[in-house]
């Protein structure tokens, strides 16, 4: 059961192709992380899913229908693109009430979503006085009004403090546990590692990877081994002769690839070399992500 289906999606602004022949699907019961560097086309794709921007080519359907053909949109999709998108002088309750009423939802839903996001106490306060974290919660409350099965969040943790980040993360996990499809964009791999079950990675508008998180982890953990020995020079030569690739690591350690830690251990014993450390290195997700998207970063620093 696919809920969001993106097919051959393309968006051009003048000569710039912002989204380029993008296809992927979002399934229920999962948090799907939508990753890419800044300017990769994540927000534009989300806008096209929601009918806010018209695709140049391709199509997006939600449960088989275009967004604008959904009879009661808020009961099917909840979307939070920008937490700042509230009128500062409108009270939180009125903001939610207008949205609920626009979709014919009962008034009590406003109280219910305020409770679920922990905002009951500030329902009568104007949104302009809210902290970023509270605005984020207000935005989340709005997405839940119609109890939708599909949720779309654009960079929901940007600018939040650690507590806010953890709250949002747990919140998204709980939504997925309830069987909903959650699509969440981020430019931070580390954030996704703790939230997403599935990854869709794009760069310069193109699909780079569409994989489960566990597969992604496995693929990126084919790593290196950190070796420390009192006399690294000769051992490095022996390792190289033995077929491994060796480069210098921090504090006169060796970073070895092409041999497992077990092989290196045996190798050291055979040559009578004393090892003070032998640690398999997992390539960090951040590294894997950088590796994937290196060619697609819009503006690259020159110090790299």
């Amino acid at each position: 059961m696919t809920v969001i289906e993106v097919q051959g999606l393309t968006k051009r602004y003048g000569p710039d192709t912002v989204v380029d022949d993008l296809s992927f699907t979002v399934e229920p019961g999962h948090v799907t992380g939508f990753l890419g560097p800044n300017g990769a086309g994540k927000s534009t794709t989300m806008k096209m899913i929601l009918g806010l921007a018209a695709p140049t080519r391709g199509s997006v359907t939600i449960g088989g229908r275009r967004y604008r053909d959904l009879p009661v949109p808020l009961t099917e999709v909840g979307a939070l693109l920008d937490a700042g998108a509230v009128h500062g002088s409108r009270k939180a309750y009125d903001h939610l009430l207008a949205l609920a009423v626009s979709n014919g939802l009962p008034r009590r839903r406003v109280g219910e979503v305020l409770a679920r996001t922990g905002l009951e106490g500030v329902a009568g306060k104007r949104a302009g006085g809210f902290s970023l974290g509270m605005r984020q919660r207000l935005g989340l409350a709005a997405t839940l009004l119609g109890d939708p099965q599909v949720l779309i969040f654009d960079e929901p943790v940007n600018g939040l403090d650690p507590e806010g980040i953890r709250w949002i993360r747990d919140f998204m996990r709980s939504l997925a546990r309830e069987g909903r499809a959650v699509l969440v964009s981020s430019h931070l791999m580390s954030e996704m590692a703790q939230t997403a079950d599935h990854l869709v990675v794009i760069g310069r508008g193109r699909l780079i990877a569409d994989t489960s998180m566990s597969e992604f982890l496995r693929a990126s953990s084919e790593g290196t081994v950190l070796v420390r020995t009192p006399d690294p020079g000769p051992f490095a030569l022996r390792l190289t002769a033995g077929g491994a690739t060796v480069r210098e690591g921090p504090e006169s350690s060796l970073v070895v690839s092409g041999m497992t830690s077990e092989e290196i251990g045996k190798f050291a014993t055979y040559h009578g070399v004393t090892l003070s450390e032998l640690t398999p290195q997992r390539a960090s997700l951040e590294d894997a992500f950088m590796e994937l998207t290196r060619d697609s970063v819009e503006y690259q620093g020159t110090t790299a």
């Binding site: 696919t2 009661v72 009128h87």
Partner: protein
């Protein structure tokens, strides 16, 4: 294709109606302080100008010749406050749309109501309803206050029952409502408060002020222009330039309708 459309505890609506959208837009409009401040400003400034301009007309009337006294139009004098009132009611119309662009709320509104024409139509209906009520109330209040001031000064004044008075006062209210509609259209096309307001000022103040510069084939346009021919209905003494003042106001309304059509077209087609 999938069964996610069924939401168990949400069996309230199977479809969204225009009435839902209207109610939501009304909640949005009434829940903003700026709406009420703008309306308060409309009445304070509108009636303030009436009181100031009407409080010392006795001397002016004394100095008029007999012929000029024939053309004395106390109704029109008390309605001249429309000149400033049209800008304030215009701000109300502009903000209905541009405040949503300024805050980014338009994205949220359009995800809740993806049928764009329906959303804009609801905004137009709600804002126009407010403008009609406020415009009529202001014009009647300005008329009554102005005439009372004239009576105190012992200058000839008009009553609501006098010929042509009711149509002039109600015409003033309609004119203000049409300006509010124009403002909604401009706000939608410009998407920014400043740009829309500058355009509105250009239309109602600047262009009429420099109308003499335009070639003669364009002069006819000013017969239907705001602050020009379109306000001929606010007079009770016939103006030889505008023998059918309601036609002039009707012409302006056609122009406003054209702006609104353009607004609906761009609102439908543009990315948000």
């Amino acid at each position: 294709m999938s069964s996610l459309a069924t939401v168990p505890d949400m069996s309230t609506a199977s479809n969204v109606t225009f009435a839902n959208t209207l109610r939501a837009e009304w909640i949005k409009l009434r829940s903003l302080r700026s709406t009420w401040y703008t309306l308060a400003c409309l009445f304070v400034v509108g009636l303030g100008i009436t009181l100031l301009s009407m409080s010392s007309l006795a001397q002016e009337y004394e100095s008029l010749t007999a012929a000029e006294r024939q053309a004395w139009d106390p109704t029109n004098l008390s309605l001249r406050t429309y000149i400033v009132a049209q800008l304030i009611i215009g701000v109300l119309g502009i903000l209905v749309v541009t405040s949503e662009y300024a805050t980014g709320l338009m994205q949220t509104s359009l995800t809740a109501t993806p049928r764009r024409h329906r959303l804009l139509a609801a905004k137009v209906v709600v804002a126009t309803a407010v403008a009609v009520v406020a415009g009529q109330a202001l014009m009647f209040a300005a008329f009554l206050a102005g005439q009372a001031l004239l009576a105190v000064q012992d200058v000839p004044n008009a009553g609501l029952g006098d010929p042509g008075v009711l149509s002039a006062v109600a015409g003033g209210g309609l004119y203000l409502s049409a300006i509010a509609l124009l403002a909604i259209g401009l706000g939608t096309i410009m998407r920014a408060t400043a740009g829309a307001l500058a355009t509105l000022v250009g239309i109602v103040f600047l262009l009429p002020a420099v109308s003499g510069l335009f070639p003669s084939w364009l002069q006819g346009l000013f017969d239907f222009w705001p602050s020009q021919g379109a306000v001929a209905v606010l007079a009770t003494v016939p103006d030889p330039d505008y023998p059918h003042p309601w036609l002039n106001l009707g012409g302006m309304c056609l122009g406003v309708a054209a702006v609104l059509v353009a607004a609906f077209v761009v609102f439908r087609r543009r990315d948000v």
